[in-house]
């Protein structure tokens, strides 16, 4: 087993009846990198994440997450990963402290350790005075930063972020990404899905899923070069909606679709 790999997926597949949501995807995520997992809605991102986090059993293929086989060692996988979904996993009617204590308890941290980590976390976030505030009363941006920090409370090797910055302003998103970089510098692998292409630019490497397959994989720079596109936006549109992109953003040297053919 290669220790420098955080995630190693081979021919990972998931079908729902006749529908193949994830179709034999193969990729590696290196330890300590920020890996962007992109794709249009319905491309299979969420299904893939659910398999990698042990929420869903794969129909075929294999994957090793944090050194554990997701098929046979899903409990060990769960101990070594953190998770934050687009709807963030905090309880609105619990206070900041109660939320932290709950998750600390769930991951079996001793109470003294939970208190110490909570201090450090709240200092870092500047939330010391909101310790006893109900999460409901916090602004959305703060909730998301808090949810991210709580997902890191048990110091997982990999943290999965499923559209973590939905619905917040660009400044808050930038602050959120500073937290992501901080975690990555501290050695945590970050696996993040997003619909914001400026965020995709922040990633070390990205993959773009199209109809259950991985359509492209590489650094943002490599992908732009490979597709001859000016921005990741163009790369994404060209992969996800090839018929529309052909008319709109055709690179030089590529045959343009005849005007009449585009609806």
């Amino acid at each position: 087993m290669n220790e420098s790999l955080a995630i190693r997926a081979r021919e990972l597949t998931r079908t729902f009846g006749a529908f193949t949501a994830v179709d034999h995807i193969t990729f590696d995520v290196r330890a300590g990198e920020v890996f962007g997992f992109l794709g249009a809605n319905g491309a299979g991102k969420t299904t893939a994440i659910r398999m990698l986090t042990g929420l869903l059993a794969p129909s075929g293929g294999e994957a090793v997450v944090a050194g554990h086989d997701i098929r046979t060692e899903s409990e060990a996988v769960k101990r070594d990963i953190g998770y934050m979904s687009q709807r963030f996993s905090l309880y609105d009617d619990l206070t900041v402290r109660e939320n932290i204590q709950l998750y600390g308890g769930i991951y079996d941290l001793p109470p003294a350790e939970i208190r110490a980590r909570m201090r450090r976390m709240l200092d870092r976030l500047g939330l010391q005075r909101s310790e006893s505030a109900l999460v409901r009363s916090l602004p959305l941006g703060w909730k998301q930063k808090l949810a991210f920090s709580v997902a890191l409370l048990h110091e997982p090797r990999i943290v999965f972020l499923d559209e973590p910055t939905g619905g917040v302003d660009p400044i808050t998103r930038r602050q959120f990404w500073e937290l992501i970089y901080e975690a990555a510098h501290a050695g945590t692998t970050v696996f993040v899905t997003t619909h914001y292409m400026d965020e995709a630019e922040y990633c070390d490497r990205i993959s773009i899923m199209v109809a259950g397959r991985i359509g492209a994989l590489g650094t943002p720079h490599e992908l732009k070069a490979q597709f001859g596109a000016a921005s990741l936006d163009d790369v994404f549109v060209r992969l996800a909606r090839p018929e529309r992109a052909a008319g709109a953003a055709g690179a030089p040297g590529e045959p343009l679709a005849p005007r009449g053919a585009t609806p």
Binding site: T53, L55, Y83, Q101, L102, G105, I106
Partner: protein, 371 residues
């Protein structure tokens, strides 16, 4: 264990901080006992009495006088034939009728059984029973005095009030409301609240957070449902205590057995709630499913309000799969008849099987992770 304690504490916060729901959960049983208790009143006052006296003699006249003297009854008619009673009952002119056997006094004097039939209109079953027993008590009191006065002469003769219920022949399931009310309260708390609190976690996305954690599914389930088990148990005790204090409803059998059976029923209801929550993804749908799937059957098919025996066979058959039916039968047996486990084991066994099957199904549906 640390994790489970944390989960339980968290669920406690949810419950305590949702003040409105908490008030509903606590006040509902208390208010319902009063509502049901007074809407199914069994007090007997100013009862319209019809008397059928085919051949008046000193004994029947004395009995008629005694009944009139109690002030509880107002004699509305004295008829020669029992067949003339029917229209009176139908018009609601009479609520209870006393039918004397012909030659009552003569039979008494000769030491033969002398029968007095007491018929009551049992469209309101509890009141019907109460009126009937009042009439019987008055007649029996007169008879005791007569025998005492005669000093043993003609001893062994007694009036046999041969009671028959009209218009509601299934007096057997007359509704003493407390057992049914307990079933209803437990259904609301255990099934509906469990289903709601589990689907709420799905709706808000926090369930995913729990599922990707190292928590075992059974820990999540226990963490979610144990608090409602506790509240349900408190509800049962509140209903029993209140019914006892205000309406003097007895618990003739073993209180421990009753509480144990209550716990078993809570388990069945909790498992139903989990099954519902596994099949639904929003609180609104879960609420509807819980109402239609558990509340309505509990109210309509448990024998709580409507006697099962007088239902058409498809409904009677359907009632068998309603857990509340079995619990109401058990609770009635223990509370009203003082029956013990020796006679109630079949019903208990049914509930146990239901609990096992539903718990297995709910555990399985919980293992089938988020789609």
């Amino acid at each position: 264990m640390n994790a489970l304690r944390g989960l339980l504490r968290k669920e406690g916060y949810h419950i305590l901080r949702d003040r409105r729901t908490l008030m509903v959960l606590i006040l509902m049983p208390i208010v319902q006992v009063v509502l049901f208790g007074y809407s199914i009143r069994t007090d007997v006052t100013d009862v319209r009495l019809a008397i059928v006296d085919p051949a008046p003699d000193p004994v029947t006249l004395a009995l008629r006088g005694r009944l009139a003297a109690t002030n509880l009854f107002r004699t509305v008619a004295v008829l020669p034939r029992a067949s003339e009673l029917e229209p009176l009952f139908k018009r609601d002119a009479a609520q209870v009728a006393v039918v004397f056997e012909p030659r009552l006094g003569e039979r008494l004097a000769r030491g033969l059984p002398a029968r007095v039939q007491v018929i009551s209109d049992a469209t309101e079953p509890n009141t019907g029973v109460a009126r009937q027993s009042y009439v019987a008590a008055v007649i029996e009191a007169w008879d005791r005095e007569r025998r005492a006065a005669e000093g043993g002469r003609g001893g062994g003769i007694q009036i046999v009030p041969d009671s028959r219920m009209r218009f509601n022949p299934t007096r057997e399931s007359s509704n003493l409301f407390v057992p049914g009310l307990m079933a209803m309260v437990l259904t609301i708390i255990a099934s509906m609240m469990t289903a709601l609190s589990l689907t709420r976690e799905k709706e808000t996305g926090t369930m995913e957070g729990l599922l990707v954690s190292p928590l075992r599914p059974w820990q999540i389930v226990i963490g979610k449902v144990a608090p409602y088990l506790a509240i349900g148990f408190i509800g049962v005790i509140a209903v029993l205590a209140e019914a006892r204090l205000i309406f003097h409803v007895p618990v003739r059998g073993s209180l421990a057995l009753l509480l144990g059976e209550g716990l078993l029923y809570i388990l069945v209801s909790l498992a139903l709630g989990i099954v519902i929550s596994a099949r639904t993804s929003s609180q609104r749908v879960a609420m509807m499913a819980a109402l239609v799937g558990t509340m309505l059957p509990t109210v309509l098919l448990s024998g709580f309000i409507f006697p099962i025996e007088s239902m058409p066979w498809p409904l009677r058959w359907l009632a068998n799969i309603v857990p509340a039916k079995w619990f109401v039968a058990i609770a009635r047996g223990i509370m009203l008849e003082g029956t013990g486990i020796a006679y109630l084991w079949p019903e208990t066994l049914v509930l146990m099987v239901m609990a096992l099957v539903l718990l297995a199904v709910s555990a399985r549906s919980f293992n089938v992770r988020l789609e």
